[in-house]
């Protein structure tokens, strides 16, 4: 039984990986290189409890499983160091609100912040610490999955004929946003900064009534700063306003970012359903995983496992109906 997985972003790679690990012969199809679309610009935060501020419970629950999945799939890549959430003094009420809407966090004081992130010592009086959260480098993760797939014998093609395969799994993300697909695009903008003068060990979220931001350390003095959420499918370069807001917020987190260098900016269009919850759709030999919204790395493992489980159940279903 040969399976064609279309799209080599986080949804396609995790789906192909989960299927290949169960011993299914998998072919991966993408007209471009693996991991160059929206997944390439992901934050890589495995922060289900923080996301619970606005995300529904199903995302929090599935997301909580993702940390273990990534650790198991790509040993050594996941950093289990938690998330630190701070707010400027005048926006303290945002921190209270965030705490009320989320769980699995603890309050830390100035000394606690200094212990966790010495670079932020004295900058904030209080913070929320989400101890159980984790992060990874999405670009390394996608490359790692691809490498693992190749070593498991999966093929990678730039074009293929659907008819040569028993099953088609469409993980084409944004490309599947067409009328009546129920999908829409949500624009996200991000940037990479580099400075050797600042060290962070874990993602830090800065709350702001209008411009919430996160900074994720990538090692070697590189930091990913993200991300805007704009209801638009326009994929042009980052706007001056967004760039200004992201940079202002980074500067508020630490003035040292004022001397950092901007090494990359990026824009991606993230596919989402109306409820912002990703899902498996389709039937028979055509299935699709889409609507990852801003939760690709958080939600893809749960969907990949659900997909693999469907293929496990398949032979039994067949014999039951035979």
């Amino acid at each position: 039984m040969t399976i064609l997985v279309k799209g080599a972003g986080v949804a396609g790679l995790t789906a192909a990986f989960a299927l290949a690990r169960k011993g299914h012969p998998v072919t991966l199809l993408d007209p471009k290189a693996p991991g160059v679309a929206a997944s390439h610009y992901a934050g890589g935060m495995l922060a289900p409890w923080c996301e619970g501020e606005t995300a529904p419970e199903v995302v929090v629950e599935a997301g909580a499983q993702a940390i273990g999945w990534w650790e198991c799939a790509l040993p050594g890549l996941v950093e289990r160091k938690g998330t630190l959430v701070v707010a400027p003094p005048r926006d303290q009420s945002e921190l209270e609100r965030f705490a009320r809407r989320t769980h699995r966090h603890e309050w830390v004081d100035e000394a606690g912040i200094a212990e966790l992130e010495p670079a932020l010592a004295g900058r904030f009086r209080r913070a929320l610490f989400f101890r159980d959260e984790a992060h990874l480098d999405p670009r390394k993760a996608l490359a790692g999955l691809f490498e693992a797939l190749v070593s498991m014998g999966a093929k990678f093609l730039h074009e293929a004929d659907d008819r040569a395969f028993c099953h088609i799994i469409d993980c084409t993300g944004r490309a599947a946003i067409v009328p009546r697909s129920q999908l829409r695009g949500v624009r996200g903008e991000m940037l990479y900064l580099t400075t050797q003068d600042l060290t962070l060990s874990r993602p830090v979220r800065l709350l702001h009534p209008r411009i919430p931001l996160y900074v994720v350390p990538r090692g070697d003095g590189r930091f990913m700063v993200g991300a805007t959420m704009i209801e638009s499918e326009h994929d042009g370069p980052i706007s001056v306003r967004s760039l200004m807001e992201l940079l202002n917020a980074a500067y508020t987190l630490h003035p040292t970012f004022g001397e950092a260098e901007v090494i990359e900016t990026g824009t991606s269009i993230r596919p989402a359903y109306a409820d912002n919850i990703p899902r498996i759709t389709g039937s028979g030999r055509h299935l699709a995983i889409n609507g990852m919204y801003r939760h690709g790395f958080l939600m893809a493992p749960a969907l990949a496992q659900e997909l693999a489980a469907r293929f496990e159940a398949e032979p039994q279903r067949r014999s039951a109906t035979a």
Partner: protein, 257 residues
């Protein structure tokens, strides 16, 4: 019935469409609120020449009046351009005119507001100006051709409620026949009820509903508060008194000390 630019409406709640957890929850909240007018921000969503995509389709499919707004505009020129773009995108001549003058408080720049209102009214727009409770500015907006005024209660998204009720009262007293809508700063249903008890015709809100833990339930709560405040105002509110007044008459006692 509330009449705004000749359109009759039974709901006195105008709801914003920004910052909901998802479009699905937004749609449910709008339905639960009974709102017949929703405001939509154009500036960011159409940045870079974008057309807003599927999100605008969701708004169009709601079957309610769309009131595009010029949120995020800092000059009269920007606001006028955004209003014209909105007219094309949503096929409406309604516009909520918002010209921001101060980055931190998002206070309206009333000079640019009057300038933009003059230009848009002359161009046939039906302008809903987001303004302060300043009577002089209000006069100038009416002179420009606005038939509705939307004074703030407190800064946008601040959830502080009516920080200066006296100004709102004098505005109501000064413009008895102009539809007045309290726009911005409401955080709780009681704030909306208070605005309606002052005799305001409607309220406009967004963050108080979109940012609630349960936006759908909060939309319903605001709708009830607005109905209660409106009904209370028309039922004739008692003025506060300095001394207790027994609700059961006390007969046969020397009560007049």
């Amino acid at each position: 019935m509330l009449t705004l630019y000749g359109t009759e409406l039974s709901s006195r709640l105008l709801l914003g469409t920004a910052r909901y957890p998802s479009p699905a929850i937004m749609e449910e909240a709008i339905r639960a609120s009974g709102a017949q007018i929703v405001t939509v921000s154009l500036r960011r969503e159409t940045a870079g020449g974008g057309r807003g995509g599927q999100f605008f389709e969701v708004i169009r499919s709601l079957g309610v009046h769309v009131l595009p707004n010029t949120a995020g505009c800092h000059t009269a020129k920007e606001a006028v351009l955004t209003a014209r773009m909105a007219r094309d995108l949503f096929a409406t001549d309604w516009v909520k005119l918002e010209v921001i003058g101060h980055h931190d408080t998002l206070q309206p720049d009333v000079f640019a507001l009057v300038e933009a209102a003059q230009e848009l009214c002359a161009d046939g727009f039906k302008v809903f100006p987001y303004t302060t409770a300043d009577l002089v500015v209000a006069e100038k907006l009416l002179e420009a051709g606005c038939e509705v005024l939307m004074p703030w209660a407190s800064p946008i998204g601040s959830a502080r409620g009516l920080v200066d009720p006296a100004s709102l009262v004098s505005m109501r007293g000064h413009f008895p026949d102009v539809p007045l809508i309290v726009d911005a700063g409401l955080g709780r249903p009681s704030h909306a009820a208070q605005a309606m008890e002052l005799g305001y015709d409607a309220v406009l809100l967004n963050t108080a509903v979109a940012g609630a833990a349960d936006p759908v339930a909060m939309a319903r709560a605001f709708a009830s508060a607005i109905d209660a405040g409106h009904a209370g105002y028309h039922a004739g509110l008692l003025e506060p008194r300095d001394m207790a007044v027994p609700s059961t008459p006390v007969i046969g006692k020397a009560v007049f000390a």
